[in-house]
């Protein structure tokens, strides 16, 4: 509205013809016939994040299958929420790359804020934040991840760059719900 005195003729014509209203209708119609950006998660689709994504921790091995972690406890020092517990032990059977390995490497995911400082602090690149993000569960036990779980191979291999939507299957067994992604059938996201 202009604060000029008198009636603005152009403004009046616009109002009579409902131009603003029609413009609005055009916008919403455009959205109505455009494709939805919603992922049909968890039924059909699952978002595969990029490599840089910071999800649940992983502990890695070198190419010979030896654990990279030397239990130096630098990640424990770096952690701002002190959610990582490391107990070192001596081992010369070749389990690790050095004769010092972790007896316990435990992370409490309820306290973890996924800042990635442990990843930065790690001198051997043993700790990486992975791409798993489905952390909901009905039991407190699953919020604590141990060395054995973290050493398991990841469902999304490092070779996949991510940033894609994979076809997924939603299962609801009694042991807990699970969404498995089929990495062979993927597509780019809609927007």
């Amino acid at each position: 509205m202009s604060d000029k005195k008198g009636i603005d003729i152009l403004d009046l014509i616009k109002k009579v013809l409902f131009t603003d209203f029609v413009k609005g209708l055009k916008v919403t119609l455009g959205y109505n016939i455009s494709k939805s950006i919603t992922h049909r998660y968890p039924d059909d689709e699952k978002w595969i994040p990029y490599r840089r994504f910071r999800g649940v921790h992983t502990l890695n091995r070198d190419e010979n299958g030896r654990e990279l972690c030397v239990a130096c406890e630098l990640c424990v020092k770096a952690c701002p929420t002190s959610c990582i517990t490391v107990v070192p032990m001596e081992d010369d059977t070749g389990r690790g790359i050095a004769d010092r390995v972790a007896k316990v490497w435990r992370v409490n995911l309820v306290r973890c804020l996924f800042c990635g400082y442990c990843e930065d602090a790690c001198p051997t690149r043993a700790v990486r934040l992975g791409r798993e993000y489905e952390l909901a569960c009905s039991d407190f036990r699953c919020t604590v991840r141990n060395r054995e779980d973290l050493l398991m191979p990841q469902p999304v291999p490092e070779s996949i760059e991510g940033g894609i939507v994979a076809k997924a299957k939603f299962e609801r067994p009694l042991s807990g719900i699970k969404v498995t992604a089929d990495l062979k059938v993927t597509k780019k996201r809609a927007w």
Binding site: F21, G24, L25, L29, Y31, N32, S36, R40
Partner: protein
């Protein structure tokens, strides 16, 4: 006791069947309409809408229905129990009763028994007046329900509804008077017949006043059936849920039912009054049943009302009153005057 002859009995049975069929359709319609409304909302907001229950969420209304049936039926403490219980019915009955006078097509002949059947329950010669009168009664459900809830939000919702209804019913009636002047009849069948032929015979294209009537009628109707942008009686932003804040379960469902049936009736009326009812827009060589055109046009207007709902924000209450009293009523009076001069 006089025994009526067979044709009278048949007539009564026919009317009963028609009433049952129309009522069943009206009871069934809100189910797909709620689904459609949520789908339209979803897609306009670049979402998907209901998806999980059934293919494309088609069974979602049934899930909602079961939920509403199972919910506890709460009557607030110190509410007026009698009016609180009867209010949803008061809202619902007029919405259904409107359809008594609405014609859905010309008479058809049933091939086997060779009997002519009219596609309306009653063609009263005061049809449009009856519809305006009855649809105005629906507001009592809202007012009395709002008052009986013994809640400030409900009361304000009911008060707003009453003021809004009075303000907008006047301009709606004036818009309809124009149509009546044009077709020389209050009967809806005659109004549709007078628009037969082609697109240009439709009242909407009776220039220059046709589009103005139509705009006034649609705006006023939106206000009367409490849909966005005029849904102040159930203004979520300021009144909780307005007049049905205290309602739950089946009573709430009845209010929703009334709202959707009212939306259908307004779409039907818009089509009948301004867009030629069941007449086809252009003469076609292939015979398409008139009921197809009717349903298609009504479906378009139902979509249009949903489309508007997710396009416009809600008006403020003083803006609502300004639109009603300072714009719609003077404009509708002027259009009646112009129509009078054009009809001389």
């Amino acid at each position: 006791m006089m025994i009526p002859d067979i044709s009278t009995i048949l007539e009564v049975v026919l009317i009963a069947v028609k009433v049952v069929v129309v009522t069943m359709i009206l009871f069934g319609l809100p189910l797909p309409l709620t689904w459609l409304e949520r789908k339209v909302a979803g897609h306009i907001q670049v979402r998907l809408g209901p998806w999980r229950v059934g293919p494309h969420g088609l069974l979602q209304p049934f899930a909602d229905m079961i939920k509403l049936l199972m919910k506890e039926d709460i009557v607030p403490d110190r509410a007026d129990k009698f009016l609180f219980t009867i209010a949803p019915l008061l809202a619902m009955v007029p919405a259904f009763a409107v359809f008594v006078a609405i014609p859905f097509g010309e008479n058809i002949v049933i091939p086997v028994i060779n009997k002519e059947v009219s596609l309306y329950i009653s063609d009263m010669n005061v049809g449009i007046l009856y519809i305006l009168a009855i649809s105005g009664l629906g507001v009592y459900g809202i007012i009395l329900g709002g008052w009986a809830s013994n809640s400030k939000y409900s009361l304000i919702g009911g008060l707003r509804s009453s003021a809004q209804m009075i303000s907008y019913e006047i301009s709606i009636s004036f818009a309809v008077i124009g149509v009546v002047m044009l077709s020389n009849s209050l009967s809806l069948v005659d109004i549709v017949r007078s628009q037969g032929g082609s697109l240009l015979q439709w009242n909407f294209f009776y220039l220059p006043v046709g589009p103005v009537w139509c705009a006034i009628f649609i705006i006023g109707s939106l206000a009367e059936i409490n849909r966005i942008p005029f849904d102040l009686p159930e203004d979520e932003g300021t009144l909780g849920a307005g007049f049905h804040t205290e309602y739950s379960g089946m009573k709430f469902a009845l209010f929703m039912l009334a709202e959707y049936v009212a939306m259908v009736s307004v779409s039907v009326l818009t089509v009948i009054l301004f867009f030629g009812g069941w007449n086809s827009p252009v003469p076609l060589p292939i015979p398409i049943p008139p009921i197809f055109w009717f349903v298609a046009k009504v479906a378009f207007f139902i979509y249009f009302f949903m489309w508007v709902r997710f396009t416009l924000p809600r008006y403020r209450y003083d803006q609502l009153m300004t639109i009603g009293w300072k714009i719609l009523i003077p404009v509708s009076l002027v259009t009646i005057l112009i129509t009078g001069f054009m009809r001389i």
